[in-house]
């Protein structure tokens, strides 16, 4: 009955002997913009990958709309070398949905290092994201029994491109676009999956201050327009402080603080993590 779209509980991700994410718990309320910040190598992207099913976390639980999408406990060899906490809390059923299943439930994402399909046009990049929600099967698609649906998919794609101001580039090869537009295209592609929760991995990376400002407005705009909840990783503090309703701070895989932007800004632990411990 909670109004949390995403509920992450005690997620630990251990690669061999290295603990990349350590006992991370967080909640993302519906309709909010939540940020995950932390120094380089703190495990932010790994946390994203655990939520989206790219990695199977060693331990912990992730629930989306009150349904478990990931649930695991250390097993096999990992049982012996596990360094995290709560090893016995999630025994029993293992839930490990694949990324595509999680996307179909309504989580979609962008990537830190842009991952567009490089041989395809802008239009096709967005169109392919519509594939998931189509009712066709391989026969109807091949023999054009799905003409209506195909037409609808193309129209929706076009509408989305127009909304994102990408329509004039629609026949360009995606990776030939300027960097900023590629980021925007990645967001458009993620929106084409009809998500409820959008994960943005460093959306402002490589942008200048003016572009970053525009991005802030843009993120708020899509949140309202598509009734989204947004969870983002970002380094641009101005952007984060400007748009976030809530901020989680991690360092060395562990949560060190959370709160509203002003609370986090004044938290000495956070300042230490970013500037080095002052003793």
């Amino acid at each position: 009955m909670s109004n949390n779209v995403l509920h992450v509980e005690n997620i630990t991700m251990q690669f061999g002997g290295v603990v990349a994410v350590n006992n991370l718990s967080l909640d993302i309320p519906e309709g909010k913009i939540v940020a995950l910040i932390g120094p380089n190598g703190a495990g932010k992207t790994t946390a994203f990958n655990c939520i989206t099913g790219v990695y199977e976390p060693t331990n912990g639980l992730v629930e989306f709309m009150d349904k478990p999408i990931v649930r695991n406990h250390p097993s096999g060899k990992m049982k012996k070398i596990y360094k995290g906490e709560n090893a016995d809390k999630y025994l029993g059923d293992v839930v490990a949905m694949t990324p595509d299943k999680i996307t179909s439930l309504g989580i979609s994402r962008t990537f830190q290092n842009i991952r567009l399909w490089n041989s395809m046009t802008v239009f096709e990049n967005v169109l392919i994201a519509k594939h998931m929600r189509a009712n066709q099967n391989v026969f109807s698609a091949t023999f054009r029994g799905n003409a209506k649906e195909e037409k609808r998919m193309r129209e929706e794609t076009m509408a989305l491109l127009v909304e994102q101001g990408l329509d004039k580039y629609k026949d360009e090869i995606a990776t030939s676009l300027p960097y900023g537009l590629q980021r925007r295209l990645e967001i458009a592609r993620a929106l084409a999956c009809d998500p409820k929760l959008l994960l943005l991995d460093e959306p402002a990376a490589g942008m200048n201050p003016q572009e970053t400002e525009e991005l802030a407005a843009f993120i708020k705009e899509i949140r309202d327009k598509y009734n989204l909840t947004i969870f983002l990783i970002e380094h641009h503090m101005n952007l984060v402080m400007d748009i976030s309703d809530h901020i989680y701070v991690i360092d060395f895989g562990k949560m060190i603080a959370d709160g509203t932007p002003s609370e986090v800004q004044n938290n000495p632990v956070v300042i230490d993590a970013y500037l080095g411990v002052t003793e």
Binding site: S108, I128, K130
Partner: protein, 387 residues
């Protein structure tokens, strides 16, 4: 918008016309010039190889899965086709080493009995081809379950290994009553059975080169439709970036399996056509060298180009069966023997050409373009000069 649409149609239209023209010219030539000309061997074998090369391209070029099992699936298709269509009257003589076949069911007999000579033949052959495809696709499904999770180069070796296993199984004597062991299967309908004969058995109208072109053409057309559908786009997305594809909701396991099965289906049909071309089926024909040959055709044509694969197939077959034949024969010019020319030299020249393509013309003939693109490009240029 409408302008672009028109242009696309025009490019495809020209391509369609060319294909139609080839069909017509084939039929005309077949009935006018010497029917034993090597040209017709090239057309028949080229058509069969086109289909197999395109089916391999669907997997390697469009889905990014590097599989080397093509010969294995062709073998399955060829045997399925042969076993289903050998008339019961000749079965026992073909299987004489194993005291007859354990299989007394012939699609050819059934349909020729029910529908008459001609229609029975057509229906039986088409049905047998589809069955050949289904058997190949079914085995692909089974092998795909474990193997498709592997990374590209392991996948190549595993599929190659699978083809070798199949070849061993089909030569096993214990299965002799079904596969005729290591001996050849024959007696089933071939391309020349499609020549129209009059009542006294004289050929009045030849279709034996047109039929393989038509059958392969239909199959390739289906593959083209698939590639241009939503599923084809999903395959390309997997090829370009698996992680992104999965994150955008494309089920990797399902789509890879789908592509693998469809590719194998058409390899199976290609195997059936190959059986019709060769008029005997023997497991030892379908070696890994055959797969390599097909792979090299795909490379020469351009990985990711259907028309490239077709073009390369005909070129390759024409060179190996016809144009470069002279390299294999000792030749005398003015009493002195031309050096190097003797049996096997053709294949050496051939492999050198292939290495040159692989090393210096990595795009192949077409790169990832298609035939209609070529005409379209011209159109755009013309359009620009008009402005």
């Amino acid at each position: 918008m409408s302008n672009t649409k028109k242009r696309i149609d025009r490019g495809s239209l020209i391509t369609l016309c060319i294909i139609l023209l080839i069909f017509v010219v084939t039929v005309v030539l077949e009935n006018t010039i010497n029917a034993n000309s090597l040209l017709f061997t090239v057309i028949r074998k080229g058509a069969v190889y086109s289909l197999v090369a395109v089916s391999m391209n669907l997997l390697n070029g469009f889905t990014g899965l590097f599989s080397l099992g093509q010969a294995g699936f062709m073998l399955l298709g060829a045997y399925t086709y042969a076993i289903l269509t050998i008339p019961n009257s000749v079965r026992d003589t073909i299987y004489y080493l194993f005291q007859g076949s354990s299989f007394h069911f012939s699609l050819l007999d059934i349909f020729q009995g029910a529908l008459g000579e001609t229609f029975g033949l057509i229906v039986a052959v088409i049905l047998a081809c589809i069955c050949a495809g289904i058997v190949a696709a079914f085995f692909a499904f089974l092998i795909g379950l474990p193997v498709l999770r592997l990374k590209s180069d392991y996948l190549a070796i595993a599929t190659l290994g699978f083809a070798e296993i199949l070849r061993a199984i089909f030569q096993w004597e214990k299965l002799g009553k079904v596969t005729n062991g290591a001996n050849a299967l024959r007696g089933y309908p071939t391309f020349s059975d499609f020549n129209i004969k009059n009542s006294s058995g004289m050929i009045v109208f030849r279709l034996s080169s047109f039929v393989p072109l038509l059958l392969a053409g239909i199959c390739i057309a289906i593959i083209v439709l698939l590639i241009n559908s939503s599923y084809g786009r999903a395959f390309k997305a997997i090829r370009d970036d698996e992680v992104a594809a999965e994150a955008m909701g494309i089920n990797l396991a399902k789509h890879k399996q789908l592509s693998f099965c469809i590719s194998s289906f058409f390899a199976g049909v290609g195997g059936a056509l190959f059986a019709m071309f060769a008029s005997t089926v023997q497991a030892k024909t379908f070696t890994s060298a055959m797969t390599y040959e097909i792979l090299l055709i795909v490379v020469i044509g351009g990985i990711g180009s259907i028309s490239g694969s077709c073009l390369a197939s005909f070129l390759y077959i024409a060179c190996s069966e016809w144009w470069l034949r002279f390299l294999d024969n000792t030749m005398y010019i003015g009493g002195t023997q031309v050096p190097l020319l003797r049996n096997g030299f053709r294949m050496v020249v051939f492999s050198v050409i292939i290495m040159i393509v692989v090393l210096f013309f990595r795009q192949g003939i077409m790169g990832s373009r298609e035939l209609p693109d070529l005409f379209r490009r011209k159109r755009i240029k013309e359009g620009k000069s008009d402005e």
